[in-house]
Symmetry: C2
Subunit: 334 residues, 2 copies
Amino acid sequence: MEDQFVTLAHGNGGRYMRELIAGIFVRHLANPQLDVAADAVYLAMPPGDLMITTDGFTVEPLEFPGGDIGSLAVHGTVNDLAVAGATPLYLTLNTFIEEGLEISQLDRLIQSMAHAAQSCGVNVVAGDTKVLRRGEGGGLYLATTGIGIRRPGLRLGVDRICAGDKILVSGPVGDHGTAVLLAREEFGLSGDLASDSASVFVLAQALWDQPGLRFTRDPTRGGLVTVMHDIAHATGLTVRLEENAIPVHAPVRGVCDILGYDPLYLACEGRVVAVVSEEAAARACDIWRALPGGEAAAIIGQLSGIGAQVVMQTEIGGERLLNELEDDPLPRIC
Amino acid sequence: MEDQFVTLAHGNGGRYMRELIAGIFVRHLANPQLDVAADAVYLAMPPGDLMITTDGFTVEPLEFPGGDIGSLAVHGTVNDLAVAGATPLYLTLNTFIEEGLEISQLDRLIQSMAHAAQSCGVNVVAGDTKVLRRGEGGGLYLATTGIGIRRPGLRLGVDRICAGDKILVSGPVGDHGTAVLLAREEFGLSGDLASDSASVFVLAQALWDQPGLRFTRDPTRGGLVTVMHDIAHATGLTVRLEENAIPVHAPVRGVCDILGYDPLYLACEGRVVAVVSEEAAARACDIWRALPGGEAAAIIGQLSGIGAQVVMQTEIGGERLLNELEDDPLPRIC
């Protein structure tokens, strides 16, 4: 790769594109399944139920404390499989590159993606690259599709949630959203906040054998409260959260207070929410606290009462309704 | 859907996004597998080798004679599976929507996608939607991943190509590229040209039982000549094309002559190229000509001689080298 910037010629299907793919994508992502000359590739699958998920990534800036769009795409896709009870195996990758992106940055991002994939035990097996004219893209957009195998016999879903079930979160919320916010530098604030971008596979898997596990989800866009609304809508039950039980890093709370955001509506990218039976809650929380990344796990609420709403029990003993998101507080957060 | 335009709030993970997904994506694409509330979905798979492919779509304009970005995405993904010897079963869909896109247009495009998927016998099983700020997207980008099952025992690939093999194309080349070019209206030309956007599954499948079938590919970005270069590079053999054997619609040739394009480098979206043994060529061509969409199929060349190059034997008996694409002649063609 002698060029310094991506040009439209890198997207034309010819020699430049072949060089870009060989010089960056194949070099970092190469594995036995990645056949860049094939239109479709064969995937060796172990026995079991095939699970699929897909996700788009538009985060801006492309690199931020704690991660970048490459590692974020891997973690986001791995996490969607993990919370559905599946072991992630394969990823496909679409890149939409804006003309003018520095090739050295693209190289860093794809290398970061490769490291994340390796540490998650997944292979990137197929890809496609499109180049957009200057002004038509946000530097880089990614879309990833993930394939995994579901744990035999495991069925997780909102339809399994019952009144009385407890709600757990594996760690502090709002880190990713706040870190990306600060990385944009448009607020004149800085700090040592970092995104929580990480695989939640080990945390999710740790609960798969626990009786009473109903449902898991990673609270990304729209944050914790949006997952709570999804649960309330799907079950018709009231989600009751305890304000002082929800872990939030102090600097996250500080930044949010200054800028007028609520960390409970900001994206996490390395946390998992679980709904478990009342009896199983303490044990599930202990399991998480013993794992790396789960040290701050907490029981934060309960399904209690009829009426599809989300209620916060405040520290001073009051109650308030938590509304659904209307405007997007932070576009291009993931 | 009471809104007229897509706004950032439609991408926030909350109520507006849920309404957009329910009002457009679920309404048109709904099927037993499409569980919009799940992080990952289970896919029932027949026995056989799992094949996967992924592709991005950035065509501009979003609607053009003969198709639109929705049907194009389905056909492109189905075709990548078909030319790899697989029967397409499932698609996933990523949408990147620019703020300000008319909701009525998005609705048309997703409806078109649904019709194409239905006529190809594939189900859209998972999706993700991101909204980009105004000025940051080209109206709409799509990324689709396709899953299929390979015909048992069938192995197609450039590694199976031998000296002496013949090259076939299923129909006239350059239609899609020329139709999109004219649809942009920046050239002051108009005509009744239409894209060839279509599934090539029936054409590809028709050759699967033919002894001597080596390799099939759909000539999209970079057109017919780019596929020929891929073959020449991979095999080290010379691809020798016969100029007067290559089918090109007269209006396509006319427009290309005026604008200075070569239709052999322009994208097709409903054609397939096959490499077959010399003995099998006539039979394969007859099979295609008897099928809808294959009426103009032709034997257009042969692998003959050492040296990874593409040579055109001209109508007047001369020879010239066909170079690889350098600049992109037509950005955002697919």
